[in-house]
Symmetry: C2
Subunit: 546 residues, 2 copies
């Protein structure tokens, strides 16, 4: 593997960790917890892992000699910067506890546990991946651990390898499943512990005790770098409106964070569109009004940030998609055989009158995409809709109409961009390198303390790393009951953008000014060296939330 | 203007310059030059600026007291990182010569000179823009300075502001026009000098004496950062082929440099496609073969780099576009009135049989784009063709056919990207910050030496900046005669990728290995601080050329 000069220099970086987990430390148990909602239901489903206390590690003089620990680690779901550092943190953590400890990596995601595909992660391997981006050390995958037969297959390999604990590095669903697995292994008295780690660039796995999911910091910095560069280009060439879609699934955290960093003219927040019950035309009109206001000042350029999940948040379209998913699931075999035109006809005939009308009102490219592209579960693939192009086209149409009516007299040329894959595997920022490595070290301590059904937690992250608080949060405490595929399930509550939260409120207080003025900020690329205010600060989101 | 922490830290950076231009220096004249071709024609067109000697600045103890100089500066054409540093270099240079010197910036490109739109650039303004990206200090524009009436308007404002010299920062065409202007002002004995500076991220303005155009280093670093991140994602998720189109107009330098930095599976070089007289199907087959070879090894993912200008280099399509441009120009009024379907019909009816057949063989989206999108000169807008999507679709079609025939048994899912605006206004790398500032300082020295029709030159750039060679190159020496809009014109010879040059030859020796193996390199983001091998190295292209 040929390495770039930066990779070589970066390999030597020693991540910073909370002072409390270095040298001797002791575990302090807090009060028993309750789930965030549906307490009775969750308690019934998790009799052994419900109500556990939050735990914290504090500095202590008495270093405890401990037995060797064998751990199996799994990367689950989409890539996020810092995954390799979680793994190196676990490795160093269990080796610090006892040098004979072993770390196994299950290959290609959760399916590696079920199919018994694994490697032993030795120091030679680990050292190649410290402070690097990507999940390529063992690969990731999207298999869901949900069936008891899968759990039993996992048990087999754990017994064979003498594995004491599994660490699952994943998003909300993967951590939910980690807890189901912990409960199952506890009920069966297998002695195998399960610990989760909060991963996702989307930023939607967080709560009072988990301040952020890892990767969010790095990914939003990469996106903000290129958004800033595009803004500077817009302000230099003065001839394009740039429509920029950003990854983040249904939550708009990524878009909001990038907006706080770069101050674009327009930022759409899906959660607000839903709360205000806006239509697609409302959104288009909102943008067109800003374009007009800037054109009146002679500014025929601008930037618009669009969250990937926007379309789903428009209530009318959300309803349409729900009915479409249910209808297509019920008629899949018949539907799949039809030609494109017949598929569209079939949809219109089988939807309710209200949703058929909305379906027919969409631009042809979008209705076609809704009809044709389906994920492996048969669901409409909302993420494939090129919302940034759709909006640009609809705004152009509206402005052309306004021009005819004499209400608008500017120029409107557009460029569109979609950023996602550009940031998921970036080398972690200093923050994510430190945060992830600490999460891994804390996971090792939780395992050594015999804990299971916990998520590794590192808090107080707006302070220097030495002051961070380390501990574990019972996963059941984050759960509520939600409908999934027609059934009520216990799941970790997804953290959407809170319209009464600090980040949104700050944004909302500034956006009218940003819309009309050219108030762009140019963050530039992630710096790994240089002054601390350049290289070590984390997100505006965390700052405004805490 | 709110500044990011990096911008604030970066403002303090003092660009490095050649030792020879610091303190006292003297101008040394070399031998008289000849143009690269068509010497008699060029000499006839440029009687006053033809045959001038190359000049070099050497260190000297005798500092010469000099008069104040007033300079007007123009940014011409597309943005490139470092433009602001050229301007700050000119500013510091003329102030070092005499503190009463003044710098004027013409606004919005060359039209600012003609329309008398300008500002005086004071130290307060200059200090806000040191080491920043963008051309927003005075804006840029694409007006061509070609007419004597424009030159005369320029003369008026120069006389009014007592301007001694104009510096035009631009690409090959803008520098050609700078020389035409220099010749005109010399012939008219106006006393106004004109100096050019080599700008373009495309990297196609270079020759023996001009090692690189500024911005190429920074832009290719930004693109390589995100390409590397995508490669790492591809290698982690192992499920997508990423098709990545890169800016660079007709030359493939940007794509080649990014390939040398990131080692993707497939890289297309337009100049090679042309030299080998390849068809679109040849290109598609070449990619499909690599996809198949990797699939045979179980690797159903990869990365493909596509230069923006690829389509134009495919000889058959180039001929089609030429005939299309001529035919549409001759029938513009009639054509513009037609509906979309009628336009396509009209084209097919009016093209030669051979080109009509090629037009009809193109995917519908491409033929439609060729028919509909035209630039202000009436030309087909090749840059709008989404080549990366076109190729992905055509490769998918071919693989589906091979699957039917039992020749291929892999999975082929694609993602596509286009990077251009992401890099043109990035804050300049240390190299571009130093190089641009030096170009500006050298421009000031050339003016002080009474030179006109010269391009500012800084050579020996693979060495530390202190060892760089500073001087000036007569612009006529870079010229030849080419057909433009049907007429023979003197122009600076465009530097396309040389298939017998170091960069291409190195790439060609490695590409078969890169196609099959996963040999990705992850350069990471531009570092402004940190070790010199991380922060200060320039392009692979320059290294392999010198």
């Amino acid at each position: 593997m040929k390495k770039s000069p930066l990779q070589i220099a970066r390999a030597a970086y020693q991540p910073k960790v909370p002072a409390s987990i270095f040298g001797g430390n002791k575990l302090v148990e807090g009060k028993a917890t309750e789930s965030v909602a549906d307490q009775a239901d969750i308690k019934k489903l998790f009799p052994n892992t419900y109500g556990l206390p939050i735990v914290t590690f504090e500095k202590s003089d008495t270093a405890v000699a401990a037995k060797a620990i064998n751990v199996g680690v799994i990367l689950s779901g989409g890539q996020a910067p810092g995954g390799h550092n979680v793994i190196s943190g676990i490795f160093d953590g269990i080796k610090a506890i006892n040098k004979d400890s072993k770390l196994y990596g299950f290959l290609g995601g959760p399916s590696g546990l079920v199919d018994h595909k694994y490697i032993e992660l030795t120091s030679d391997i680990i050292d190649e991946y410290r402070n690097t981006g990507g999940f390529d050390i063992i690969g990731s995958g999207r298999t869901k651990l949900e069936e008891e037969s899968q759990f039993d297959k996992g048990l087999e390999i754990c017994k064979k390898l003498n594995i004491n604990a599994i660490v699952i590095i994943g998003g909300d669903d993967s951590n939910t499943n980690a807890c189901v697995l912990a409960e199952y292994y506890l009920a069966k008295k297998t002695g195998i512990q399960v610990i989760g780690c909060p991963k996702t660039i989307d930023g939607d796995l967080k709560n009072e005790m988990i301040e952020t999911s890892f990767g969010f910091d790095t990914a939003t910095k990469v996106y903000s770098e290129v958004i800033g560069n595009i803004e500077r280009d817009a302000n230099s060439a003065k001839k394009y409106w740039h429509f920029i879609k950003l990854m983040g699934r249904s939550a708009s955290h990524v878009t909001l964070e990038c907006a706080l960093k770069t101050q674009p003219n327009i930022t759409l927040i899906g959660e607000e569109v839903e709360a205000k019950n806006q239509t697609l035309d409302d959104v288009v009109t909102y943008i067109a009004n800003a374009v007009k206001a800037r054109a009146d000042k002679g500014l025929n350029f601008g930037t618009v940030l669009v969250p990937e999940g926007l379309i789903e948040f428009i209530p009318a379209i959300k309803k349409l998609i729900q009915e479409l998913n249910d209808m297509l699931a019920a008629n899949q075999a018949e539907f799949d055989k039809k030609s494109v035109d017949d598929k569209i006809k079939f949809i219109i005939e089988h939807l309710s009158a209200e949703n058929a009308a909305i379906f027919q009102s969409l631009p042809a490219a979008v209705s076609k995409q809704l009809a044709l592209e389906r994920d492996p579960h048969g669901n409409v693939q909302v993420s494939l809709i090129e919302t940034e192009q759709l909006l640009a086209e609809m705004v152009a149409k509206k402005l052309a109409q306004w021009k005819k009516e004499g209400k608008y007299n500017g120029k409107f040329s557009t460029q569109h961009h979609f950023f996602g894959y550009e940031g998921r595997c970036a080398a972690p920022s200093n923050f994510d390198a430190d945060y992830c490595y600490s999460l891994g070290r804390v996971a090792a301590l939780l395992i050594n303390s015999g804990k299971t059904g916990y998520m590794s937690s590192v808090r107080n992250t707006t302070k220097p790393a030495s002051e961070w608080l380390a501990g574990g949060i019972p996963i059941t405490a984050m759960m509520n009951m939600e409908k999934r595929n027609g059934k009520m399930k216990p799941v970790i509550q997804k953290a959407l953008v809170k319209l009464d939260g600090g980040p949104f409120k700050f944004f909302a207080s500034k956006r009218d000014e940003w819309a009309i003025e050219t108030a762009y900020v140019y963050p530039g690329p992630i710096q790994y060296f240089g002054p601390t205010e350049v290289a070590d600060i984390t997100t505006e989101t965390i700052k405004l939330e805490h």
